[in-house]
Symmetry: C4
Subunit: 202 residues, 4 copies
C-alpha cells in the first residue's frame, strides 16, 4: 500500500515534468498515508526524477518522521490541506509558466472561469454554464503565514479543486492521486485557455 | 478485424494525448463496426492510456451492448454521425486549447479558412484557393439537443471533415481511422494558423 | 550507399515529425542519387513514419523510375533544385505553423532577417551583423508554374539555403542531408524568433 | 572522474536539445577538470547527440590540448568564466527562441526580474521579493572582445548565475553540472514568464 502511494508520487512527478510544469526543482507533491501522516517530496530534488529515497513521511504539523532529509519548503501547505479536509488524499503543486503569469495578471482574489466544457473535469461540475472561481493567495516566504492565509480563507468558504499562489503556481488535490492529476491537468488547461482569450481579446 | 478496430482507437488515443489534445479525460473516439454498431470509448478514462477494456460496443441510438461500462457522454454525437453518413468509419473528438479558444473567439456559425495549402489535407480539397467553412455548434450539456443540432444542420447541408463545439473542441471523421487522424491533424494545424494570424494581424 | 540515402530521408522524417513540422501528410523530402536521379517521398504518406517502400526514384523531370507509386505533388520543386545546382545533395520541405503564417504576414517578396546569431547556422554566413533575405514564392497548385517561378528567380539571383512558399511552408537544402537538416532547423528557429519579435513589437 | 564529467556534458546536451534550446548546432557546454583545464564541446556538432569524441580538453586561454578538433567558437567565454571564479564547475550556453528574442527586446544592459518564486532556483536567492538583474552583453563575432566585455563587467561587479548575449542566447553556470542545469532551467523559465508578461501587459 505504502509502495503504491510512493510510486503514485514518483509517476506523477515524471508526468508533470514531461509537461514542463516543475522546472528547476520547482513543484512538490504529496499523498496522504492515514489520518495524521503523509508522504511529501524532499526539498531541492528535481521532481521529474524522484526515487523512493526522495520521499519523506511527515505529520500534519509538517514534522519529519524517521528521516534525515528536509521536506519541501511548502510542506505546511500540503499538511494544512490534509488537516482541513479528510477527503483529500493527494496534493500536487505545479510551477508552470502559465499559472505563474496568469496569477500575476489577475489583480483580483479569484481567477474566474466560465463557458469551458473543461470545467467538468473538476469534480462536482456538470456544466460549462456556470462561473467558478479559483482563489489566488498572495505569495510569501513565510510558510506559516501562507498556511494561515489558506486556513482562514477555507474557514470562510472551503476551497474546491485547487488554488493559485501569485507568481508561484498552482496547488490542486483530489480524493486520490488519479483525481489530483485530473484536477491539475484540467486547471492547467483552463489557465492556458484563459491566457489565450486574454491575448486574443485585447 | 475487431481487434484491428479497437487497436486503431487505442493508438489514436496515445498519439492525440502526445499532442496534448485530450487532457484530463477530455476527448473521445470511436470506430464503426458495421451498419448498426460502433466501438466507443468509456466515460472518465484518460484517453492517452486506453486498453481494450475501456472500449464499449454501442448501437446508433447510443445503447450499450454487452457491457457494464458507461460510454462517453458525447456518444450520441458519434452515433449520429455514423447514422447520417454510411461513409464515416471513424470519429475523433479532440479537446485542445486552440479549438476551445478559437471556437469562442469566432462569433459566427462558421470558422472560415482560406489561403492555406493545408486545406488540401481535407479530402476533396485540391487547392488552397477556396474558402472552406467549419461549422461551430453551440455547446450544451443536453446531448440529445446537441445531436439534434448536428442532425438538423446536416439536413440543410451535409458537413464535411468535422465541426467545432463552442468552448468544447473539435469532432472530425474519415472513411477509416487513418483519414480521421489526417483530418484531425489538418484541422488542428489550420486552427493553430488561424489563431496566429488573429494575433499577428491585430 | 543507396540504403544510407534512403535511411537519411526516413530519419529526417521522424525528426521533422517530432518537431511538428510535417502534420497530416504535409512536407516532403528527397536526396540526390547522382547527376540525373533522386529519391523522393511518395504522395499521401505520413512523413513521420516512412519506410523504404515509401521512397521513389525519379529523374530531374520528375518522371518515376521503376515504381508504381505516385511521388509527392511537389516533386518538381525538388528536381528543379537538383537541376539548378550540382552542389545540392538533399532537399527538405517542412509545413510548420510558423512558416505557413509568417509567409502570409510578410507582403514582400523576401523575409528579411538580421541581428540573429543563428544566421550563422546557414552555410557561408559568418556574422549576425548582415541582412539576409529568404525568398517567398507565391503558392499555386500548378507545379510546373511553381517550378518555373523558382527557376526564373534563380536565373536572376541564385537562392541560398531555402525559400518559403506563401501559406505553404519552407524548402531548404544542403550539400548533404546533415546540412539540409541544419538549414531547416536554423531557418525554422529564425522564423520563430521573427514571429515573436513581430508580436512583441506591436 | 573524467568519464563522469564528460558524461555530464553529454547528458546535459540531450536534455537541452529535448527542450529545443540548442537547435542547428547552436549552444555549447563545458565542465571544469581542474584549476587550469576544462572539457568543452567541439564546434559544429549537434549538441543533442554528443559522444565522448565530440569533447575537447582546453586550457583557460582556450588552447586545445591533445586533440585535432576545433572547439566551439565561444570557448573563450567558457574559459574566461573558469578563470574569473574558482567556484564555477560547469557552464551551459543555450540558444533558445525566448532568450534570443528577449535579449533583443530589452534595450537596457540588464533584464530585471522580480516577483517570481522561481528566482529562488538561483543560488543565494531566498525570496521572490527582490529585484535581480541579468546582464545583457552586446553580441560580436570577435570572441576576444566578447570575453573582454565579460571580464571588464565582472571587474566592476561579479556576475551571478548567468548572462545573456543580445540576439544570441544565455550562458549560465554552477558549482557543478547539476547546479548549472538548475540555473539554465530556472532562467529559461523566468525569461518565458517575462515574455508572457510583456505580451499580456501590452
Amino acid at each position: 500500500m505504502s509502495e503504491l502511494l510512493t510510486h503514485s508520487i514518483i509517476d506523477a512527478g515524471r508526468w508533470i515534468d514531461a509537461q514542463g510544469w516543475c522546472p528547476a526543482t520547482g513543484g512538490n507533491f504529496s499523498a496522504r498515508i492515514d489520518s495524521s501522516t503523509a508522504w511529501v517530496t524532499a526539498s531541492g530534488r528535481h521532481k521529474g526524477a524522484l526515487t523512493p529515497d526522495d520521499l519523506i513521511k511527515v505529520d500534519f504539523d509538517g514534522q519529519v518522521i524517521d528521516s534525515a532529509l528536509t521536506p519541501s519548503a511548502e510542506t505546511l501547505l500540503h499538511t494544512a490541506l490534509y488537516a482541513l479536509d479528510d477527503n483529500i488524499g493527494a496534493v500536487l503543486h505545479t510551477h508552470s509558466v502559465t499559472s505563474t503569469v496568469l496569477s500575476r495578471m489577475v489583480a483580483a482574489d479569484y481567477l474566474t472561469l466560465s463557458g469551458y466544457e473543461m470545467q467538468k473535469s473538476l469534480s462536482g461540475n456538470h456544466t460549462h454554464n456556470e462561473q467558478i472561481g479559483i482563489r489566488i493567495l498572495e505569495n510569501t516566504q513565510d510558510m506559516r503565514a501562507l498556511a494561515q492565509q489558506l486556513t482562514s480563507t477555507w474557514a470562510r468558504t472551503p476551497l474546491q479543486w485547487g488554488f493559485l499562489v501569485r507568481g508561484h503556481g498552482l496547488y490542486a488535490w483530489g480524493r486520490d492521486m488519479k483525481e489530483a492529476r485530473r484536477h491539475i491537468e484540467g486547471l492547467e488547461f483552463l489557465f492556458a485557455c484563459e491566457r489565450e482569450m486574454m491575448l486574443l481579446k485585447k
